[in-house]
Amino acid sequence: MAIFEVFRQEKKGAPFTHAGSVVAPDARFAQAFAHEQYGRRQESEALWVVARDAVHEVHDFHDELEKTYHRVDGYSLKGKLKEARERAGTATS
């Protein structure tokens, strides 16, 4: 028996999100079990049934250098915009 992870898409265009897992002797059974568990009320548009061994998890994301320059929170425009508007004479109040 092998474990298969099931990802389900709720509607067309939506992302596939992890729903749970099934245990099955092979991929064909895994697909049938997943179909029954996660789609018998038409609640899914599609399923990805993936052998757990085939999923490679990657984690530990560090930001030792605090690279704020590649994130939106690295930019605070409010003060600068105010100053620029005042310089241009377009400030509203």
Partner: protein, 299 residues
């Protein structure tokens, strides 16, 4: 307690969630297995009282709906045992412990279903009580369990509607049918009041400590009473508890359930415990060839 465990406790108590591969204290793992396995057992044993009525359902529509509900509950058991397996306890072991009487299942599934009224009351009120606990589990610190709870809660809402529909149809029928419902409510009330467990303080409940549960027993019971007693009353049904009322501060008062009975029932001494476990054992043996064929086919 070592620093790593201390940090883990703070993390889960602060709302943090844990995945299968993450480090976890052994105590947390064993509490998770105990709790989740009991839930799986309850889903599996919970279909037996209803299964008895599939052949006796009053219409084809009801027969189909009841069969669908039974299929849902067995499906929940499969999903839940999967989560338990990932925590280290194989499904075969969970089933063996269930059949030998070592593991527990919910009190309400140890009682007989005497009439079709019981089927309606189970689907409506027992499932309502269950969904209150299950909704609180959406916030469980163990993420794989919380994730499957979404699907489980979604299907339970159909069960409650199905149950209410059965009850409303009976209530709009004959005096005899109304009597059937009243008898079932009277019969099921004591086990329903025990369903959420004894009123152990949340800060003394190990399941709350690890944030496996995010809700205390009494809080769940109060939520059940608040949601469903008015629904029972508005149909002209009565609840067999003269003390039951809602105080001005919003708290429901009730006659203390017989906690001794709860303990006896969940430790394997309920009126139907032995018979249902025997049925489960017989089917597990009887269907063993299906598992053998499937495994041989795939090999």
């Amino acid at each position: 307690m070592d620093a790593r465990t201390q940090e883990f406790v703070e993390y889960v108590q602060g709302g943090g969630q844990v995945e299968t591969g993450d480090w976890m204290p052994e105590d947390y793992r064993s509490k998770l297995v105990k709790f989740i396995e009991m839930h799986g057992n309850s889903e599996l044993m919970g279909v037996l009282p209803e299964r008895e009525w599939i052949l006796r359902a009053p219409t084809l529509q009801r027969k189909l709906a009841l069969t669908a509900k039974v299929q849902d509950e067995v499906g929940h058991a499969q999903l839940i045992y999967r989560v338990v397996e990932d925590l280290g306890k194989p499904r075969e072991q969970s089933l063996a412990d269930l059949i030998s009487g070592k593991a527990k299942f919910h009190n309400v599934f140890h009682y007989p279903t005497k009439t079709w009224g019981d089927v309606g009351v189970i689907a409506w009120l027992v499932d309502a009580a269950a969904i209150i606990s299950q909704k609180a589990l959406l916030k469980c610190s163990y993420a794989p369990y919380a994730r499957i709870m979404k699907k489980i809660c979604w299907e339970e809402s159909f069960h409650i509607l199905h149950g209410r529909d059965v009850i409303l149809t009976l209530m709009n029928g004959t005096d005899e049918q109304r009597e059937l419902v009243q008898e079932a409510v009277t019969r099921w009330w004591p086990p329903l009041m025990m369903f959420h467990g004894n009123p152990i303080q949340p800060d003394e409940d190990p399941m709350v400590y690890w944030r496996i549960k995010s809700q205390g027993n009494e809080e769940a019971r109060q939520q059940f009473l608040d949601g469903y007693v008015p629904q029972i009353w508005e149909l002209g049904l009565t609840v067999p508890d003269p003390k039951l009322h809602k105080r001005e501060d919003g708290v429901w008062e009730y006659t203390e359930p017989d906690w001794g009975e709860l303990k006896r029932v969940v430790t394997g001494h309920g009126p139907k415990t032995a018979e249902r476990l025997e049925l489960r054992r017989r089917f597990l043996e009887q269907e063993a060839w299906v598992r053998d064929v499937v495994l041989a086919e795939a090999a």
